[in-house]
Amino acid sequence: MEDHSTHGPNHDDGKDKGSSRRDFLKNLGLVGVGAATGAAALYSGHIFEAKKEASGQSKILLTQDGKLVEVDSLEIKARSKSGLDLLQSHGREGIPGKRWVMVIDLSHCRNARQCVSACQDAHHLKPEQYHMNTLQMKDSPDTAPYHMPKNCQHCDNPPCVAVCPVDATYKRPDGIVLIDNERCIGCRFCMAACPYSARIFNWLTPKDAEKDKDLVYNVELNVPQKLGTISKCLFSADRCREGKLPYCVSACPNGVYYFGDENEDAVTNGTTKETVRLSKLLRDNGGYQLMAELGTKPRVYYLPPKNRLFPFEEAKDNQPEKV
């Protein structure tokens, strides 16, 4: 057909063009390699000179196993990267042998909100950002109102973890649900999935972004908070690692919180420091879980607000709820 006749000569032309293009690329490659080698030589020379100038000074340092060593200051490198790696791997593994559990005694809560502020201080949160919030509850028109501290329930069947596309939020063997904000892509599927509204998001620049910018990210504290990622209650995993009670638990003036290890069947009250049997505490006081019917298997238990120590007062700073 007519197309074929025009194809012949064109084809040859193409071949010529192709070979000259190859030559050109070959030359370009040679020039490129030469330039790169030259630049590398210059740069290594520069490093060597810089080293010579600063050498001769040494520092005495304490190693991890307690020895004092003398090191040339040139050999000292900041360990921030490996520090991050260490924190990240600790953060994934959890604390061996533990099954952390919290009990919240609603009969003791009078909405002091010191748990809230201690938590916000520890995690560098803005005033409207809550890992722990105290809610004013009224279950039906005829039942009495009560204050209910509410945090992440660290579910054993966590809906948030199930939906995360990148394994940024995960369940640790010690029961804690954490968020890795080096990983989070900010899709907020976990927020949609959580029935307890436990999760918050850094919509704009976090509170201490400027102050925290040199801090190594600690997944067990979620500090520094990162723009465009999730945050939530972590059961103060960093404090658990040190053998201390969580920030909120220690801050409560009214003996609302117990925290401890399910494996040991023991929980400690943050105010009185009294340690009691978890099973007995729940049995004697009618302990229950929040919305257990959803099958989330929370690790936070509530004791009902009976025989309350304080009369209910409407929270002053509370915004009127939208009807």
Binding site: M1, E128, Q129, Y130, N133, T134, L135, Q136, M137, K150, P159, A162, V163, C164, P165, V166, D167, A168, R183, C184, I185, G186, C187, R188, F189, M191, A192, A193, P195, Y196, S197, R199, I200, F201, N202, W203, L204, T205, L227, G228, T229, M291, L294, A315, D317, N318, Q319, E321, K322
Partner: protein, 441 residues
């Protein structure tokens, strides 16, 4: 034979005369480009300052970005309905509409991926979805099926077009000079041989069959982003078919609007006839009825029981803050179009186009009503937070970022329709008893 030749010449000219850069095209694309730049500036602001430039906050954390994503995925489903379902059944009158439907499918599916990126807190970590992806997460399923559907749709747009490209390549005088080399490449040396036709025919058939489950998947999985949660309003077992049937409503409306404008601006009155509007009107009524049926199920069943959380949600929709939008969408975007389109008087081009605009606007707001009100009523009360956390209202920046995908869709549809025949030349010729490749013999 001579007669055959002249009719074919006229047909080819009719269906390809719009393929050129004219003033109208430049003005239209210029307008779209300027508008897109404004929207991109808004997205730049969001990249710099964070998602907080939008009205979404901790309780309503999925706003119009997400409802827009649902809308885009929905609109892209029409390709499957027209070219796969009706095509495989052997419906003849769809011939001039298949390419329009596929173009819409490709444009909306391609842009849907971008819409979802605009909703990410850390868009620079997009690659993590592939590096660290958890197959258990419905988001991974969504990424997979949307990509698959897009590839299938592009192939289904391109394969039937090869013959047309080959026809126009031979009549190079019909094409602008700069377009000829592109046509040369895209024609893939097609010469109407039995072997080539067998391959193309088989490929199209296979793709059409695969397209059906792929299309059902994309919108079912999208509905699962909501239905996999326990929240009132989302916790529904019929969300998959509910979304799919709604998608066909939106898609049909999009095709009708496109038919109207292609017909008038490319002068295709002889090819997209009143008959096609009439038939598409009937398809739209059918789709609307199916969707209405799912709506009744979706709202009546929980409304009869009035479980505590459902009651709050439904009260908000039926008579609360969202009531005006809810009833406008349900009555104006669904019930009224059904009633009107039952009468053949309304199934003419202009009334159909106007009704379709009402339907598609309703479809967009319907997604808003599915996504947002549920989040304003979580199980536990919203307390101790600023007022803008309690009630969602989209910001200007957010609205601009939401408009951007529409501009992109219009650009893609304009470019495809402007540089390729909107109506299949080969198929149309065959249907009219003309042999397209032997006509000049």
């Amino acid at each position: 034979m001579d007669n055959n030749k002249t009719t074919f010449e006229k047909l080819t000219l009719d269906l390809s005369h719009h393929i050129r850069i004219n003033k109208g095209f430049l003005v239209w694309m210029g307008f779209l480009t300027v508008a897109l730049c404004v929207c991109l500036y808004a997205y730049g602001l969001q990249l710099k300052q964070g998602l907080g430039v939008a009205g979404i906050r901790d309780y309503v954390s999925w706003g119009i970005y997400l409802s827009n994503f649902v809308f885009f995925v929905a609109s892209s489903l029409i390709g499957m309905l027209i070219s796969a379902v009706l095509g495989l059944i052997g419906v003849k009158w769809i011939t001039p509409l298949v390419r329009i439907a596929e173009t819409i499918a490709v444009a909306f599916a391609a842009v849907a991926g971008l819409v979802i990126i605009s909703d990410m807190g850390r868009p620079e970590r997009l690659a993590y979805v592939f590096i660290y992806g958890r197959v258990q997460s419905p988001i991974l399923w969504d990424v997979t099926v949307v990509t698959t559907y897009l590839v299938l749709s592009i192939l289904l747009l391109f394969l039937p077009m090869i013959a047309d490209i080959a026809i126009l390549r031979k009549k190079a005088q019909l094409l602008p000079a700069w377009l000829r080399p592109i046509y040369n490449v895209l024609s893939l040396n097609y010469a109407d041989t039995p072997e080539q036709n067998r391959i193309i025919h088989r490929s199209i058939r296979t793709l059409s069959i695969i397209l059906i489950p792929a299309a059902l998947s994309i919108h079912t999985v999208t509905s699962w982003l909501f239905a996999f949660t326990t929240r009132p309003g989302w916790d529904s077992t019929i969300f998959g078919p509910y979304f799919v049937s709604g998608a066909f409503v939106a898609g049909c409306a999009a095709v009708i609007i496109a038919m109207y404008f292609f017909r008038s601006s490319y002068k295709l009155q002889d090819y997209i006839q009143d008959l096609h509007f009439d038939r598409m009107g009937k398809v739209l009524v059918l789709m609307c009825l199916i969707y209405l049926y799912f709506n009744i199920n979706e709202y009546l069943v929980p409304a009869f029981k009035l479980k505590k959380a459902d009651a709050l949600h439904l009260h908000e929709l039926f008579s609360g803050g969202e009531a005006l939008m809810f009833w406008l969408v349900q009555l104006g975007g669904l019930v009224l179009p059904i009633i009107l389109l039952i009468f053949s008087w309304f199934r003419r081009p202009l009334p159909m186009m106007l009704i379709s605009i009402a339907v598609i606007v309703g479809a967009w707001f319907k997604r808003y009503l599915i996504v947002i009100p549920t989040q304003e009523h979580p199980f536990l009360p919203i307390q101790h937070v600023p007022a803008n956390f309690m009630v969602y209202s989209p910001t200007l920046v957010e609205s601009l970022i939401t408009i951007a995908p529409f501009i992109l869709v219009l650009m893609i549809i304009t470019i495809i329709s402007k540089f390729f025949p909107v109506i299949p030349i080969y198929e149309t010729a065959k249907e009219r008893g003309i042999e397209p490749f032997n006509s000049d013999k």
